[in-house]
């Protein structure tokens, strides 16, 4: 980072109220701990299906969530634990869902890839790449129609930019000037393939913004202040009728694509380089440098760990869902009858 950039970034940090900065830290810590715990629970064979961790991508979730209003809408991918937690869904319900327990957000019916918590504005996690982009546009249209000033935000990966739904959603959102923010978490890989090997442009999202009349935005996705500022501006624009934004956050996942993936396809140095830019460490150091007391941060960390330990135990103690629930809620009447 150049000297001017450093100065700029320190300044931006100072512009963000301390309460917000502490919240950004807390959210990142909670996500980091909870994702690590999810990993431990796999190893104990307590999480049965697949799971896609966001270790390393915490700053994106924290930065966006901190910039949102409580009634804004979040749409995640299968890699959505971090966004779900960031919006305030309890750890217990998230871990419970991963473990397929009654206490889970969807009582085990959705699983890790479909975390949903409407009470917290998390309108679902979608496991078909790109599918939620038009859905988020639709939610934004509804907000616009109802005049509520809500904003919808869809998170997706670099790989999702090459699917047709991306293109259709962005065009519709631009034409209808919808209050929606599209956030691409560019972690450089679509599963095991480097995004550069399958994409015609260097920046899979940002280099396509012009196709929809949108501004090109590429930001440091590992810097929560940067993310927060960009998100805040995009939400403000959307809320004031300025239409959609597309923000590409450069980041990296520390673990494999999913539970099954040891991520051997990644150059060792690449991982090391990014671990040096760990968003949580980076932010902790920045807060210390800006004068926040070590004790304040340590307290946030220990409280997060306590909360997590309690959630873990409670989730383990939660019963498995009743088998009847497998047959419920196909229809709004709660049932599944397709005939009389």
């Amino acid at each position: 980072m150049s000297v001017t950039q450093k100065a700029h970034s320190a300044q931006r940090n100072q512009e963000i109220p301390e309460a917000t900065r502490l919240r950004l830290f807390k959210l990142q810590v909670e996500i980091r701990y909870c994702e690590k715990r999810a990993y431990d629970l796999f190893l104990q064979n307590l999480v049965k299906g697949t799971s896609h961790l966001a270790l390393g991508q915490e700053a994106v979730a924290a930065g966006f969530a901190a910039a949102m209003n409580p009634d804004d809408y979040t749409f995640c991918t299968y890699r959505g634990h971090h966004h779900t937690l960031a919006r305030g869904a309890p750890m217990l319900s998230v871990l419970g869902e991963l473990m397929g327990r009654q206490c889970g957000l969807m009582k085990g019916k959705g699983g890790s890839m479909h975390l949903t918590s409407v009470a917290h504005g998390v309108m679902g996690s979608y496991a078909i790449v790109g599918a939620h982009l038009p859905i988020a546009a639709g939610a934004a249209w509804s907000a616009q129609y109802r005049g509520t000033k809500q904003v919808a935000c869809a998170f997706f990966g670099d790989g999702a930019t090459n699917i047709g739904a991306f293109h259709e959603a962005l065009n519709l959102a631009a034409v209808w000037k919808l209050p929606v923010v599209f956030c691409c978490e560019n972690n450089m890989y679509m599963e095991y393939t480097p995004i550069s090997a399958v994409t015609a442009v260097k920046h899979p999202a940002a280099d396509r913004a012009a196709s929809y009349g949108l501004e090109r935005q590429v930001i440091d996705g590992n810097d929560a202040d940067v993310v927060y500022s960009a998100a805040r501006d995009a939400f403000a624009k959307a809320r004031s009728g300025g239409g959609p934004s597309l923000i590409e956050c450069l980041t990296y996942r520390h673990s494999g694509h999913s539970r099954a993936d040891p991520a051997k396809y990644r150059p060792k140095e690449e991982l090391e380089e990014w671990l040096k830019r760990d968003p949580v460490t980076l932010y902790r150091n920045r807060l210390l440098a800006s004068g926040v007391a070590e004790g304040t941060l340590a307290k946030i960390e220990s409280e997060a760990m306590t909360k997590l330990d309690q959630a873990t135990e409670a989730a383990k103690a939660s019963p498995t869902p009743s088998l009847e629930s497998a047959m419920s809620d196909v229809w709004a009447d709660g049932g599944n009858a397709w005939r009389n």
């Binding site: 809408y73 957000l105 969807m106 009582k107 019916k109 959705g110 479909h114 949903t116 918590s117 409407v118 309108m123 679902g124 979608y126 078909i128 599918a131 939620h132 982009l133 038009p134 859905i135 988020a136 546009a137 639709g138 939610a139 934004a140 249209w141 509804s142 907000a143 129609y145 109802r146 809500q150 919808a152 047709g164 739904a165 259709e168 959603a169 065009n171 519709l172 034409v175 209808w176 629930s325 419920s328 809620d329 196909v330 229809w331 709004a332 009447d333 709660g334 599944n336 009858a337 397709w338 005939r339 009389n340």
Partner: protein
């Protein structure tokens, strides 16, 4: 009672529901100012304006995706997919998103929307614009599937579909659009999931849907007049919910059942219904259930060829007679 065409009845249903419920919005390709390529939405743009009646780009993914997002957050969208063949272009939304999200979210999310689409043959549009795909929708858990055969049902069932809290795929048959008949004036809503017995007969039960209903009725007349065969004719009206009670009762009454369906043969709705019937009233059957279907081929464009494959009145008559005559299998 007013005389309305099936296409005008569609527009009337939407207008009726838009007047009573501000949450109802309508959109699709050319649905607004142009009134729809099938003229099924004429007048709505004029009455309800560009906020509630919208044109979209050619973006079927975005149309259904946006409909879903809007439905989850308080609107009641009526989305048009111009030809039912194009459901294939947004099948992910139909089959994986709209149908499953209530279940996956354990009931947190409701998706009250209607997908309207023009279904079926008769216009000589060829293999990609003439399909009957109501069986595709029936195969997906989480979807209601409706296909009216008359103007009155077009109005009443579409109104019910719009009011329904679950996603409904609503098939409007292209070859019925110009048909005119009596439609109740004022508010008209028909409950989903009720089949209609249109003709009572004692020898056989003919079960049909959409454009096959008028053909089945004509065939029944010929069978009665020329062959002394007395047929019950039933219009299913919706595949999901399925009125199994009426279906089974009418099938048991005659013991000889014929389904008439426009979708291609394999895994059509007729297969499902035949399976249900034989499984539940096996003992009441006097012979096999016979499915009269479009053969398992894509649809040809030329008029004579198209007419040769879609079940016609003559073919229904012939297949019923053959079914009753032959005891090959028995």
């Amino acid at each position: 009672m007013a005389q309305l065409s099936y296409r005008d009845a569609v527009a009337a249903a939407i207008a009726q529901e838009m007047r009573r419920d501000e949450r109802v919005v309508l959109f699709g390709e050319d649905t607004a100012a142009a009134g729809g390529v099938f003229k099924t939405t004429v007048g709505l743009f004029e009455e309800f304006g560009p906020r509630r009646v919208k044109d979209t780009p050619i973006s079927e993914l975005a149309i259904l995706g946006a409909a879903m997002g809007a439905a989850m957050t308080g609107l009641r969208p009526v989305a048009e997919i111009m030809f039912s063949d194009f459901l294939a272009c947004c099948w992910d939304y139909v089959a994986n998103e709209i149908a499953k999200t209530r279940y996956m979210s354990d009931g947190q999310i409701s998706i009250p929307l209607v997908i309207r689409t023009a279904n079926g043959a008769g216009s000589r549009f060829g293999a990609q614009h003439s399909q009957s795909v109501e069986n595709w929708a029936m195969a997906i858990p989480g979807l209601k599937v409706v296909a009216p055969s008359t103007p009155a049902d077009a109005k009443g069932l579409l109104a019910a579909a719009i009011r329904d809290p679950d996603p409904v795929v609503f098939f409007e048959h292209k070859s019925l659009l110009a048909n005119k008949a009596e439609v109740p004036e004022g508010e008209h809503v028909e409950p989903l999931g009720k089949a209609k017995v249109l003709r009572e007969g004692k020898d056989i039960t003919v079960i049909a849907l959409a454009a096959m209903v008028p053909r089945a009725l004509k065939a029944a007349e010929t069978l009665a007049a020329e062959h002394g065969i007395s047929a019950t004719v039933m219009d299913l009206r919706s595949l999901v919910p399925l009125d199994a009670k009426t279906l089974l009762a009418e099938s048991a009454r005659t013991g000889r059942v014929f389904t008439v369906e426009e979708n291609p043969r394999l895994c059509g709705w007729g297969a499902e219904i035949a399976s249900v019937i034989q499984e539940e009233i096996f003992g009441a059957l006097k012979g096999p259930i016979v499915r009269i279907t479009t053969p398992h081929v894509p649809l040809p464009a030329a008029d004579q060829l198209e007419d040769a494959v879609v079940p016609s009145v003559a073919r229904i008559v012939a297949e019923v007679r053959r079914g009753l005559d032959s005891r090959r299998a028995a």
